[in-house]
């Protein structure tokens, strides 16, 4: 995690101003609170070297608004954790970043989401190259009903990332190694991926994602279906992966957010309440709602 100290320190200056924004105490009980008392995002939502920039993002499911005016940066090689109570919109927001919400007909996204200079929601933007650059790991391990090898080779195959079979072998091996799964499966690459344990399956899914060499990896509660030992392995892996990739992770576990992320974003009822360095969020939250959530008073 030390590797990434630099971008964080740089972010410090950029966000210094928003730190000072005065906060009003919520007038009502936070549990039943309305959007009115959430107000502007506190902390430092912006990064100096952003990989992805989101500005004034609104998301609607039909008539219902799920995300209200969220602005956030994810810096290069940064791990940003998104936490918040169920239904607060953190997963919805994450799925906007590689347009996974496109599969839901009634979902509409407004505002600006950029991957470096690429406008993610530009009408002419094809989702296929976008998703090759912004990969995703899901809540439940979802290996395809194919062999371990074919699972990892799937992405390189559909994107045509290799010329010779040996190149593909290499991609598969490297990806499995980086997902620290190689040692466990190298002797049974051609047995079905569904035969692995839950934790192994999830690492297989991570290997499958990194085989495409994305720039950003989105993780939607990647450990919620796993036991503590498998979780620890994945968390180690995230720290390792952040050297090469930019990671946005949604999690229900505050300890996990504290362990793996550089910055933490707290969502509440579709609004981004507070973003700050992870340590700061968990030791000295600035917003009442954040404090209430991390001290376990609701959520």
């Amino acid at each position: 995690m030390q590797v990434v100290n630099t971008p964080i320190q740089e972010n410090e200056k950029l966000n210094a101003k928003s730190d000072k924004v005065a906060r009003e105490k919520p007038k009502t009980d936070p549990i039943n609170g309305s959007h009115a008392n959430v107000g502007e995002t506190v902390g430092k939502p912006f990064a100096k070297h952003p990989k992805m920039t989101m500005r004034n993002v609104d998301v609607f499911y039909g008539d219902k608004q799920a995300i209200y005016d969220v602005s956030l940066d994810i810096g290069k090689h940064e791990v940003v954790a998104m936490i918040g109570p169920s239904g607060c919109g953190k997963s919805t927001f994450l799925r906007c970043l590689n347009r996974m919400n496109d599969t839901i007909d009634i979902c509409k996204v407004k505002g600006e989401i950029k991957l470096e200079e690429l406008d993610v929601y530009h009408p002419k933007q094809d989702v296929v190259p976008l998703r090759a650059r912004v990969g995703m790991v899901f809540q439940k391990p979802n290996p395809f009903p194919k062999s371990i090898y074919d699972n990892v080779a799937y992405g390189p195959r559909i994107h045509g990332l290799f010329e010779r079979k040996t190149d593909l072998d290499e991609i598969v091996e490297n990806s499995l190694r980086r997902a620290s799964l190689w040692e466990e499966v190298k002797d049974r690459l051609h047995s079905p991926g569904t035969g692995l344990s839950g934790g192994q399956q999830q690492r297989l899914c991570i290997a499958r994602t990194i085989a495409v060499s994305p720039e950003v990896i989105l993780m939607d509660e990647p450990c919620s279906a796993l036991d503590p030992i498998a979780t620890a392995k994945i968390e180690e892996l995230i720290a390792e992966l952040s050297k090469k990739f930019t990671i946005a992770i949604v999690t229900h576990s505050m300890q996990q957010a504290a362990r793996v992320s550089h910055r933490t974003a707290y969502f509440h009822m579709g609004k981004l309440v507070e973003v700050n360095d992870t340590k700061r969020v968990f030791t000295n939250p600035q917003h009442k709602l954040t404090e209430a959530y991390i001290t376990g008073r609701f959520g």
Binding site: N98, M100, T103, D105, V127, V128, P129, L130, R131, A132, G135, M136, V137, F138, Q139, K140, N142, P143, F144, P145, K146, Y154, G155, I158, H159, T194, C205, R208, T209, V212
Partner: protein
């Protein structure tokens, strides 16, 4: 009053006992401190009462109906004159029929005096029997009802008894299908054995010629009878293959469109429409095949210089294929929908397009279920009769040319059994052998299909 009336009155009375039992339970509850002191809900006591009163009465009624006529006719026959008793069985039956007609419709001209006497005796016996039945039923009912009434207490475990009764009812319903299947199998099996006594099994299985005409008299011209079933099974196979070539791609693609591409509004409109195809009677498909499709194929073939017979395997196969489309599409649609969304998300998340996701992830995951569906459709195609009877012809050609007329197993069974038949000629009996073969084949196919589907089910649970 005949049996159906007795039955209706009895059913109504038994229904009343439900309310009686419930009333009794409520009373018991009041006596012992409210409904909560009852072991079960009052409706269970009602059902228990109805069950106890109903089952013995219905059994008695059923037994009476079974043996009533037999016993009475025995009694009548014994009182007939010695001369009649010495007649052969079928003539005695004829005489008994006359007696029973006399009893119902009055004496006709030519009725012997002993017949009239027997008819009167028969009539009185029947009346007695019915009165006795009513008396028995009523007393049985009353006794049971009083006993149940007296024995019923707040501690009676009505619910568990009713549940047990219900379980038996379900078991009986389930076994109806099994017993029917067994009955069919045995009846077909015994007739087939008789057939194989006159025609060797090897000739039937491997013979290449089918012409079931047997000479009835030794000097008759035409047909010494050839019972090689190969042309029939080849015809069945040909037509089924054509049908599957139509139905599998069309059905599968329809299913993919419906489950992956169609908007919910389109889906909810198209799916029922597609299933309407399954509701069209096969005889309607049959004349569509015979009167519209077959001439069309013949004329089109004529235009490009092919000679197509007016009853072709192609016409029957095409129409049968269309008939099976909803079968394939509906089953495939179900299994495609059962593929977890997370698998699709996984592929989309890697940047796969929709068609790549479907081809490489969804279909492979759903494949066992789809195969199961297709096998069920095949057994449907093999057993289909009406379309082929009308559109495929009767000539047992051994050919692989879909433009010629062929015949199928089912068509031959129909033609063999239509009209007056002698049940001791191999011609008629061969229908049973064919049926047995067909049954075995579809049974095996269904079994394999079920195995495949079952294997698939285990995958996601």
């Amino acid at each position: 009053m005949d049996f159906s009336q007795i039955f209706m009155v009895m059913a109504a009375t038994i229904a009343m006992t439900f309310f009686l039992g419930r009333y009794r339970a409520l009373k018991l509850g009041q006596a012992t401190g409210g409904r909560k002191s009852l072991n079960s809900l009052p409706t269970y006591y009602g059902s228990l009462m109805a069950m106890w009163c109903g089952i013995p009465c219905f059994i008695l009624l059923a037994l009476w109906m079974m043996f009533d006529d037999v016993i009475i006719s025995q009694a009548i026959m014994q009182e007939l004159p010695q001369a009649v008793l010495e007649l052969p069985t079928n003539e005695r039956g004829l005489i008994f029929n006359m007696i029973s007609n006399t009893a119902e419709n009055g004496a006709r001209a030519g009725a012997e005096p002993y017949m009239v006497a027997a008819a009167e005796r028969l009539q009185s016996l029947r009346e007695t029997s019915q009165l006795t039945l009513i008396a028995c039923l009523a007393s049985l009912f009353l006794v049971i009802m009083l006993v149940v009434w007296a024995k019923m207490s707040a501690k009676t475990r009505a619910r568990s008894q009713v549940e047990k009764g219900f379980k038996w009812l379900l078991l009986i319903c389930a076994s109806i299908a099994i017993f029917t299947t067994a009955g069919i199998v045995f009846s077909v099996l015994f007739e087939s054995i008789r057939f194989f006594q006159s025609v060797p099994l090897t000739e039937f299985l491997f013979g290449l010629e089918w012409s079931p005409q047997m000479a009835i008299r030794s000097d008759q011209v035409g047909g010494s009878g050839a019972f090689g079933a190969v042309p029939l099974f080849a015809g069945t196979l040909l037509i089924s293959a054509i049908a599957m070539v139509i139905a599998v791609p069309a059905g599968l693609m329809a299913a993919i469109y419906l489950s992956e591409y169609a908007r919910p509004a389109v889906r909810s409109a198209v799916k029922p429409l597609l299933e309407v195809l399954a509701g069209i009677p096969t005889v309607v498909y049959g004349f569509f095949a015979a009167l519209t499709v077959a001439p069309f194929i013949r004329d089109t073939g004529g235009l490009i210089g092919l000679s197509v017979s007016s009853e072709s395997a192609l016409a029957a196969g095409l129409v049968m294929g269309i008939m099976i489309i909803p079968f394939v599409s509906s089953l495939s649609d179900d299994v495609i929908n059962a593929v977890p969304q997370s698998l699709r998300d996984g592929a989309y998340g890697l940047g796969a397009t929709r068609s790549e996701t479907i081809k490489q992830v969804v279909i492979p995951a759903a494949l066992p279920g789809i195969v199961g569906g297709i096998l069920l459709a095949v057994s449907r195609a093999i057993g289909e009769t009406m379309i082929v009877v009308m559109a495929a012809g009767l000539a047992a050609n051994l050919t692989a040319n879909p433009l010629e007329s062929v015949t199928t197993v089912t068509v031959q069974i129909v033609t063999l059994l239509v009209g007056d038949q002698e049940f001791n000629s191999p011609k008629t009996l061969s229908a049973f052998a064919l049926g047995l073969m067909l049954f075995t084949i579809t049974l095996v196919l269904n079994y394999v299909a079920l195995l495949v589907v079952k294997k698939y089910r285990e995958q996601y649970e």
